[in-house]
């Protein structure tokens, strides 16, 4: 998972908020518990009640004796859970006494006899029981010490103990995890679909994967589907148009060629030269149509790059072999300086036509008796193919324009060279489609064209492709 992913952001921020809330709540309840209870014991209804209790206990003792007091103590313990202890001024217990905290309280009271009530007395001896004590002077003027141990009145026993806090933060974590998952999973699905769409699979749609949702993300998915529908329709229309044009332009050309050959059979002498010219021109129209269609296909996005692994050195070798075959009659040659093993991802047919156009262009312009030099190197991360000719070169100012369709450099490079000015455009679009770059520069006595392509990381795929398409 990425460090900055939306999932992580949502998950962490929600969880942090929840943990903080739990922490603050704990702290608040701690504060109210620790500070308010002794205070409450010394004022308000609690103190009132305890005072009444103490007076009642003393009255019962004085009037009815210790037996009745014991009965009162027993009933109090039974009914309200409050333990009651009564001592005389010297600290002699008048009720059965067990708790140690009670003795401590009595001792403290005796140490400060002037400290008559009301008095703050810190009496926490345990988590669940508090001890409260005071001097009481009875109606007959006898002083007593009254101590009561009672359940912590007011707030419930502390809920936020350390293990409970840990568990609640953990549960909050799980809930936040599920929430973040719920929010981001459609985004993830959307991303996967968009990715597939960009890779050329025009049939993918989001809706089937988000059918159970009705929220804004589902709306977004539906909008994407609308868009995908339209794009797919446009591209298929474009493809159909290209196929139709190709068919409609080529059918007459095909008939023309056959008619031409028929005419040739019945022609002698001067007519032959004219027929040769017709053949040459129709061949030019034919190759122009082919190149135009190739270029349009590349620019329209109808062409897509398959994730095939291509052995670039084999491809280059094939193109060079073919080019040599064509260059020989013109006393030109293609020389290989170096061919390193390079694997790139893409379509071998498209890459072949891209490289072929560059090498053919070089052959066209290199001087007779010279050789076009090709080298393929593989520095880390990229495959670099250079093609160098020994021709007239290109004026510096026009170097970037030679990749534009139908661009011609000056009058010197005109029709006699045989091209129509589309070869380098096709190469340029092809290389860019594969995520690479192409540039031209003048070198002493010629032109150097450099093609850079990103290399493919997985050598495993090469095997399968090599098996499918053997190359010699």
């Amino acid at each position: 998972m990425k460090y900055r992913s939306l999932f992580l952001k949502i998950f962490m921020s929600f969880w942090l908020t929840m943990a903080l809330t739990i922490g603050v709540l704990t702290l608040m309840s701690r504060i109210s518990n620790t500070e308010s209870l002794p205070e409450r014991a010394n004022r308000g209804p609690l103190r009132e009640g305890l005072t009444l209790y103490s007076e009642a206990a003393i009255r019962i003792y004085e009037r009815e004796g210790s037996k009745a007091l014991e009965e009162f103590v027993r009933r109090s313990l039974q009914e309200s859970g409050t333990e009651i202890y009564l001592f005389d001024a010297a600290g002699t217990p008048l009720t059965p006494n067990n708790a140690e905290s009670v003795a401590t309280v009595v001792k403290e009271l005796q140490a400060n006899p002037q400290d008559q009530p009301p008095r703050l007395f810190p009496l926490f001896t345990g988590a669940t029981r508090a001890t409260w004590g005071r001097f009481v002077v009875s109606a007959t003027g006898k002083p007593y010490i009254f101590v009561a141990r009672f359940r912590q009145a007011g707030g419930p026993p502390p809920f936020f103990t350390a293990p409970r806090i840990a568990v609640s933060i953990l549960i909050a974590g799980v809930v936040c995890y599920l929430l973040a998952l719920y929010l981001t999973s459609p985004v993830k699905k959307l991303k996967a679909v968009v990715q597939q769409f960009a890779e050329g699979n025009l049939d993918v749609r989001v809706s089937p994967q988000l059918r159970s949702r009705q929220d804004e993300l589902a709306d977004l998915g539906r909008e994407f589907d609308h868009m995908a529908e339209r794009i797919a329709a446009l591209i298929s229309a474009q493809k159909r148009l290209l196929a139709d044009i190709s068919h409609e332009l080529r059918s007459p050309l095909a008939r023309l060629t056959v008619a031409l050959e028929l005419a040739r059979k019945n022609t002698t002498g001067k007519g032959i030269a004219a027929l040769d010219r017709i053949e040459l021109e129709s061949e030019r129209v034919n190759s122009l149509v082919g190149q135009l269609l190739a270029l349009t296909r590349l620019e329209s996005g109808a062409e897509r790059v398959p994730p095939e692994c291509v052995a670039l050195e084999d491809l280059a070798q094939q193109v060079i072999d073919d080019a040599n075959y064509e260059a020989k009659p013109h006393h030109k040659e293609v020389k290989v300086l170096q061919l390193a093993a390079c694997r790139v991802r893409g379509s071998s047919e498209l890459l072949r036509s891209g490289i072929e156009n560059v090498i053919r262009n070089a052959i066209r312009y290199t001087a007779e008796g010279t050789a076009v030099e090709v080298s393929l190197t593989c520095p880390p991360g990229a495959a670099v193919l250079t093609v160098r000719d020994y021709g007239p070169g290109v004026p510096e100012a026009e170097l970037t324009h030679i990749f534009e369709p139908f661009y011609r450099v000056g009058e010197a490079r005109e029709r006699s060279s045989g091209g129509v000015g589309l070869g380098l455009s096709i190469a340029d679009r092809t290389i860019k489609l594969h995520g690479g770059s192409i540039r031209a520069e003048n070198v002493p006595g010629g032109l150097l064209i450099t093609i850079e392509l990103p290399i493919s990381p997985s050598p495993a795929m090469v095997q399968s492709v090599a098996e499918k398409m053997p190359v010699a």
Partner: protein, 231 residues
């Protein structure tokens, strides 16, 4: 006269070709859509079929697929120039050769003659002795092949290719020579059909036991048929 069937939806082109091929001693019959072309091809004994890949209704590739189930008549495919996929698919489906459209009729005649020469050569081969080599058995007379005892169905071009390999095991044979031997014509530039045929042959025969391929590509030279254990 040699009778040839042309399946192409362009009626005007068919007429012109008929006229042209007439003068070259071919008797051209035409069909203008897939189903009728398929019927004609199956009903009559043509020496060869010229099949356009772009056909209305039923694609030329479908016609080829169905034709190959019943007949081994040599098929020359006409493909749109630049449509490499059609070409490779066609050859894989068992077409004998292809010609990009628009083509020069002289080239069509040359290809047709090459195909016919190859198929008529059958029987009068240099030697009609069966060849046995590392599990592969090839019978020139019946033009049948078995690999490890199992029969292998090969097209005409693939058979001739294998025959050439088996007569020269372990030797590098150039792509030019292989094209000449298997397709009966010289190799032209940018011509990859021999590679597709080799690929088909490889696939149909399968590798040796140890995953070793039978046919190995030698870059810049050609192909070599390896014996088991050879590198």
């Amino acid at each position: 006269m040699v009778s040839v069937l042309l399946i192409d939806d362009d009626t005007e082109l068919s007429k012109l070709l008929e006229e042209y091929l007439q003068s070259e001693q071919f008797d051209l019959h035409a069909a203008h859509d897939g189903p009728s072309g398929l019927d004609k091809a199956l009903a009559n004994h043509y020496s060869a079929v010229v099949l356009d890949v772009m056909l209305p209704g039923m694609s030329g590739l479908d016609v080829l697929k169905q034709l190959r189930q019943k007949s081994s008549v040599p098929v020359l495919m006409l493909t749109a120039r630049g449509s490499e996929l059609d070409r490779i698919l066609g050859l894989e489906l068992g077409a004998d050769d292809y010609l990009p459209k628009p083509f020069n009729p002289r080239e069509l005649v040359a290809r047709l003659r090459a195909i016919l020469r190859r198929t008529s050569n059958t029987g009068s081969s240099v030697s009609s002795q069966p060849v046995h080599l590392a599990g592969v058995e090839l019978h020139p007379e019946s033009r049948s092949v078995t690999c490890n005892g199992k029969p292998v169905s090969l097209t005409g071009a693939e058979f001739d290719l294998l025959y050439t390999f088996l007569r020269n095991p372990g030797k590098i044979i150039s792509r030019e020579d292989l094209t000449q031997a298997a397709l009966g014509r010289p190799m032209s530039p940018m011509d990859r059909s021999i590679d597709v045929h080799v690929s088909n042959l490889r696939r149909k025969l399968g590798p040796y036991d140890g995953e070793q391929e039978r046919v190995k590509a030698i870059r810049g030279s050609g192909y070599v048929y390896l014996l088991p254990g050879e590198q």
